[in-house]
Amino acid sequence: MFALGGAIMALGLMAGSASAQNVVNGERYVPGIWVDPDGCEHWVMDDGAEGYMTPHTTREGIPVCRRVNTCAVMNSDQLFATGSARISAAGRARLEQFFRSAGAVAYSINGHTDSRGSDEYNMALSLRRANAVAAIAKSVGARLGSVRGYGERQPIASNSTAAGMAKNRRVEIQCIR
């Protein structure tokens, strides 16, 4: 039956266009969408006895999500001096309090900068800042997921205004539940 179905499709395509070069020998699979507990979409198909599933991503590999799963966004200006990855005493106290009370299984930490300075400098600075926040998480017994620096490559606001740049200077904490 499957062989017959495939042959028919090829015949149909050839009959439809006299100049068709490619013959597609396939079976139609229309996916549904399942939304995971993080709010991100997956393609899902049920073929009778078999089930299939794979993440729904853009061509750039970014998951398609219906809500953003970020637990906390720390403004870098409140934690660090310009160009520094050393956390202030007030910032440390605030982070310790956060990691003690958030109650997640683990935390992933992503550092970001604004677009001033070179890309290379910002990649390194954002990673050092993410690692500084991760060290505080560890110091109060919190488990870590990934710790990454994205530099200026993932802005959430325009870098052409001071307010936008301040928003982009941030450390995001993702709670893994």
């Binding site: 009959a15 229309v30 899902v44 299939y52 994205y150 993702q174 893994i176």
Partner: protein, 99 residues
């Protein structure tokens, strides 16, 4: 070029294939399980690298799909032992099924 012979073959095929071809793969046709695939309940399976996947056992079908963060990176921790599945992911169990 479409001729009457092609039409006849296609027409016959449509009748035959209508009996067995499942065009809409978004609905569960098996015993047990959720009818609407968008309502599946997932657990988490930890792969040998410590990275997490959504795991669903919906009666006869099993589903597995990577858990990704908002940047498309896998979600990995040492919080759970590798090679284990956790959570209430076995949903429509009418038939005995061991992991």
């Amino acid at each position: 070029m479409m001729n009457t012979k092609t039409f006849a073959v296609l027409g016959f095929a449509a009748i035959v294939s209508a009996c067995t071809d499942i065009q809409d793969k978004t609905v569960d046709r098996q015993f047990g399980g959720k009818q609407d695939l968008s309502n599946l309940v997932a657990g988490i399976w930890i792969d040998p690298n410590g990275c997490q996947h959504w795991i669903i056992d919906d009666g006869l079908e099993g589903y597995l799909s990577a858990r990704l963060d908002r940047y498309g990176k896998p979600v990995c921790t040492d919080a759970y032992p590798t090679g284990y599945a956790i959570g209430s992911y076995k949903d429509g169990q009418d038939i005995a099924d061991f992991l």
